[in-house]
Symmetry: C2
Subunit: 363 residues, 2 copies
């Protein structure tokens, strides 16, 4: 079979070693006599998996004890609702920096819940190719919190740790597409969440990291039990039936990240992968990577020939070379190469070889 | 290896053929070059899986076109919140028949959401060993809907199709532990839901079947987008990233049910399995199956020796014979043998053989 690479923005590529392990372990376990999809979420085996996964994530991200770590269902979109319900209870106001589609979507969800939403700044007019800046006169006390998306999965601009907005108030981060891909100081945030299906495992599990003192302050009248972080924290992610398989697979991915050397090693690798691709694109006269250099994503590399119809044909042609899912998000077109942790350098090299060949033929 | 059986109330046993198929298909698919946990929820492959799963469920349950069918995350507990948010918007009042823990829990969730909850009848005082009856003076117009749980997973009493409460108003059913295990007339209900992890597949997916005309009547001010059924129906269960693996596995389980002959065949088999066990228990002088005969569950068979400490020891001893998860729910003790669709008659026979041996030794 041809060597193939999956550049999907997620659900996307998982470590090959993890895929092999899941397959190997899929039949009845020799101790429990059940497959992983048949064990109870109340079983000792699963309780151990959850406890281990939490400890591994704490270790990888250096999450202190005053933060709760939970594995939930419903994806980032459910977090867009849980966060306002749990935390926008005093001012009933949330500040957003609009750095892309998923910031806008989170704002819309909060508004539907009856919360007041202020977009402090937006880079939408320039197609999200740079980051919105926190206004100097931002009054954090007027809002329950500031919501940011660390990495824009669609257009590829990133608040890296060194260009995070500095607020004196509470800060919430959607890290769905770059959690564990580069280092963040957890203590700079009051809540962090990430859908599982990019750097953490398969679709079907979402991580939430919540500062405990913040929860204690809230009045949750009218909020249902499943939407309360405290319930999930109190029950160690087993408030109701957990998504057993997704958490099991996530636990294996965390093992793999640890074996690779943790977040620092992943970051170094991701920098090398992304830089190799950006360097090629920047020197090319054929392709352009439009995102401002200081904000460029390590995980979602966006580029174009400037002709969206041509981009589409090239992305289709790439498939014949074993390079899948290079088309940009349906809302923007162009190309997007997602280089999550599990993406090997060989994928980048194969991509550059292909892009060069196209450039030589068509430029 | 010893032949073993898993009597877990869920997540529990899945068809052996399905487990084998998942394992076989787990490596990179020869057409997509990706494993099932790596494909995008926007891929053609996954869209086909979702569309097929919906069609198969419609076929199996004879669900008419005026009902939406969606695959969601969050389990039954999230349905305890979505239902009040979507449907208790006029009277803001829900009527419950308290036939067990999960009816009570759904009522509590609705109350936390600020809805008024009336328990019309409860069999809690008699340990849920029979079914609560709808009061003759029940005024359906005073409530948005009546909520029932068709099968009590913990104590094992069931509203079978022939003993459903007759209401002139809207009727909602939690079928988590007996969907596809016995026939129900979908048109008798306005909403049906079921967590996946018993008769449908692994944990991590929940089915909701919603009568469309009911949705159109509601005022959903203040309800977030993920909690609105209409959004999920409009987007064919892909409103946000779907739990790809869980839906894939559910689709395989539906294939298996169809291959077995559909719900009628499953029902016949489940009747045979349950009756064989109940018949043994009823003639035994050692064990008692306390649920009233007309309401006995086909999927969760509850029994006891009358001595909970002894029951616990016997359930432990059963494990040495390859019979797992026979202990009753932690809230009630005793025994519970879950005989979901995937449980073979051989499991029942092995269980009876074991129970007889214990009876001979200890009675």
């Amino acid at each position: 079979m041809m060597t193939t690479y999956n550049f999907s923005a997620g659900p996307g590529v998982l470590p090959e070693a993890v895929i092999t392990q899941i397959k190997q372990e899929f039949e009845k376990n020799e101790h429990t006599h059940m497959s992983i999809v048949e064990i109870s979420h109340r079983s000792q085996q699963f309780q151990t998996i959850v406890a281990n996964a939490e400890q591994k994530l704490r270790q990888l991200m250096q999450i202190p004890d005053n933060y709760g770590v939970v594995f939930l269902q419903g994806g980032g979109s459910t977090q867009f609702e849980m966060l306002p319900l749990n935390f926008a209870t005093k001012q009933q106001k949330i500040a957003f920096l609009d750095s892309g589609n998923f910031a806008a979507k989170a704002g819309e969800a909060a508004q539907q819940l009856g919360k007041s939403v202020t977009v402090l700044a937006s880079t939408k007019p320039t197609h999200y190719q740079s980051l919105p800046a926190l206004p100097q006169d931002f009054d954090a006390t007027a809002y329950d919190y500031l919501h940011i998306v660390t990495n824009n999965t669609i257009e590829g601009a990133t608040f890296h740790q060194n260009n995070l907005p500095k607020t004196t108030g509470r800060l919430v981060a959607d890290m769905s597409s770059n959690i564990l891909a580069e280092p963040y100081q957890v203590t700079d945030f009051d809540a962090i969440f990430a859908g599982g299906q990019k750097n953490l495992g398969p679709a079907g599990v979402t991580v939430a990291i919540i500062k405990k003192d913040w929860l204690a302050e809230q009045d949750l009248t009218g909020v249902g039990p499943m939407m309360r972080y405290q319930n999930h924290i109190d029950k160690q992610s087993m408030y109701n039936t957990s998504p057993v398989f997704a958490i099991y697979a996530l636990d294996l991915v965390l093992d793999w990240v640890i074996a690779q050397g943790g977040v620092a090693a992943m970051h170094e690798r991701n920098l090398a992968k992304a830089n190799r691709l950006y360097d090629y694109l920047d020197q090319s006269g054929f392709y352009t990577a439009p995102v401002e250099k200081s904000a460029r994503s390590l995980t979602n590399i966006v580029f174009t020939t400037g002709d969206l119809a041509r981009d589409k044909l090239i992305a289709k042609q790439a498939e014949t070379q074993g390079l899948f899912n290079l088309a940009g998000h349906r809302s923007v077109g162009g190309f997007r190469a997602s280089l999550y942790n599990a993406q090997p350098m060989a994928a980048v090299d194969a991509l550059i070889t292909f892009l060069k060949k196209v450039e030589a033929e068509q430029a």
